[in-house]
Amino acid sequence: RLTQVRWSRYNPSFIEPEVNKELYQKPWEELSEEEKEKMELKAVQPIKAAPPSVSSSVFSDPMISKFTNMMMKDGNKILARSLMAQTLEAIKRKQLEKYHKAPEDEKGTIECNPYVIFHQALKNCQPIIGLSSITKGGKTYQVPVPLKDNRKRFLAMKWLITECRENKNRRMLMPEKLSQELLQAFNNEGPIIKKKHVLHKMAEANRAYAHFRWW
């Protein structure tokens, strides 16, 4: 008898839960046709339990939880979460310092919300095309390939974390270094943006092999 390698305790007919409160507070008439159909279908289908890292409060953000999970080592979620909180606090402090020192007309342009800075920085770090190694005729070529959204986000987060872990001074703590990198990425400067540009240049250089891609 064969069992699948990747299986879950839930029956395959179970559906992912939707935690966002605002979707449920919309009155019935404002929903479009498709959404009404989806709601009706959902009413008959069983739904999985919400995972413990997700909640409907304003403070839980899927990107932030993904980033925390990637930062986590040996399953120590408490430490990862505290580091993340300290990073956001550090960003807020730095931005507030800048805000109070800036003259009146520039005060409007300085962004103080750490979540906005985080999202914008990640967006700036995401590469557009990536390279994939394809073996043809015995030789391996680096072929430029469009990346999926998930892959882009993953690469941006991975670069951020490896950069912070390797290129810091001996005494600097992770939250401080991370906040530094995030602010630099928010302003489109810094080593991670450079890495992204290097990747784009390599892809541009290997344009000749683009026809090797078959998908």
């Binding site: 839960p17 449920y24 009413a43 289908q45 739904i47 339990a49 909640s55 409907s56």
Partner: protein
């Protein structure tokens, strides 16, 4: 040569081939006559009326006359109608000269391919009808069928219907064709054909009994709920007109759950229903670890809050995943591996 009582889907042998296992129609008819005669004899023996002797009476009589201590119910002596015992088999597919009757016999799965051909023909009909309507500038009819209450036949049911073995690929192709037929606007013409492959899903998902609120001595309304997660068991009592205080095993949550994530989980149901400061909660929890206890209390409080809230909001809670029991448990360690998934270090020599 008697075949054991199984479904055709399980038989792996070539159903189209002739062999000594084939039952002729005359044989089945004889079996049915013998069965009916035997039923009347049995009724006489038991002293009951032969005319009104049902299958349940037969089963009881046989169990009485031939008591068996065998564990497997299928192994005990049974007397059922021959159509239940001899599985439905196809009659011999070719005539006396050896020439097959059906034109698709040599494909191997003649009923499956003929069904695909028929369904495709219906699809073409629908498209032609659509074109005719478009030519006459009439708008296409849009009567949407209720998708929520029905499901397609499973692969095993389809196999039993066609009396042929199918592969997963074949089955998925067939379902895709049916779905395409259904999504076209004028698909209602072929409604009858589609309905042969539909089954009603009993929408009994919400068999929840609404418990009314109980009132304690001071006149405050309260309700209870129980929840489990991994090995943790929790039971919660939610009081109305409260200040939002939550007590676990007699200790305040700030002291019992020092981690922010657990406290977020406890407040999740209240925050979802916008009732953060309105209820008091007293809960008891045992077993499991820190996160499992938090999850168990979350489920218990969500179940308790159901009695305070309208039906629509209960439905929203269910869709947010607050009311489902989490079946994920620790996976067992397997022999030959170091853990549940981790294998031993691979050494080349």
């Amino acid at each position: 040569l008697r075949l054991i009582y199984t479904t055709t889907a399980v038989q792996r042998k070539n159903v189209g081939a002739s062999g000594p296992e084939k039952y002729t129609e005359a044989f089945i008819k004889k079996q049915i006559e013998e069965f009916n005669l035997g039923k009347r004899h049995l009724a006489n023996m038991m002293g009951e009326d032969p005319e009104t002797f049902t299958q349940e009476d037969i089963d009881r009589a046989i169990a009485y006359l031939f008591p068996s201590g065998l564990f497997d119910k299928q192994a005990r002596p049974m007397m059922k109608h021959p159509t239940e015992i001899f599985p439905e088999q196809r009659k011999i597919q070719w005539g006396e000269d050896g020439r097959p009757f059906h034109f698709l016999f040599y494909t191997g799965k003649q009923s499956y391919y003929s069904l695909m051909h028929e369904t495709y023909e219906k699809l073409l009909n629908v498209q032609k009808y659509q074109d005719q309507l478009a030519a006459q500038d009439l708008p296409p009819r849009k009567e949407k069928r209720n998708l929520a209450g029905s499901r397609w036949l499973t692969k095993i049911e389809l196999e039993e219907m066609l009396l042929e073995k199918l592969s997963d690929d074949d089955y998925s192709r067939f379902i895709q064709l049916l779905q395409k037929l259904m999504t076209l606007p004028c698909g209602d013409i072929e409604e009858k054909h589609i309905q042969k492959f539909c089954k009603e899903v009993p929408a009994q998902l919400q068999k929840v009994v609404f418990e009314p609120l109980k009132y304690d001595e001071r006149g405050v309304a309260f309700s209870t709920g129980e929840g489990t997660r991994k090995t943790a068991r929790a039971s919660a009592i939610v009081y109305d007109n409260g200040t939002g205080k939550i007590t676990v095993n007699g200790i305040d949550i700030l002291h019992y759950f020092p981690v922010l994530q657990d406290r977020e989980q406890l407040l999740f149901p209240f925050q979802f229903l916008d009732r953060v400061g309105k209820h008091d909660m007293v809960c008891t929890v045992s077993g499991g670890g820190r996160s499992a206890q938090a999850g168990a209390i979350r489920l218990a409080s969500a179940k308790a809050l159901r009695s305070f809230v309208t039906e629509k909001e209960v439905e929203f809670m269910r869709q947010a995943g607050l009311l489902t029991f989490d079946p994920r448990v620790k996976e067992r360690k397997k022999p030959g591996q170091e853990g549940a998934r981790r294998k031993f270090t691979w050494k080349k020599r």
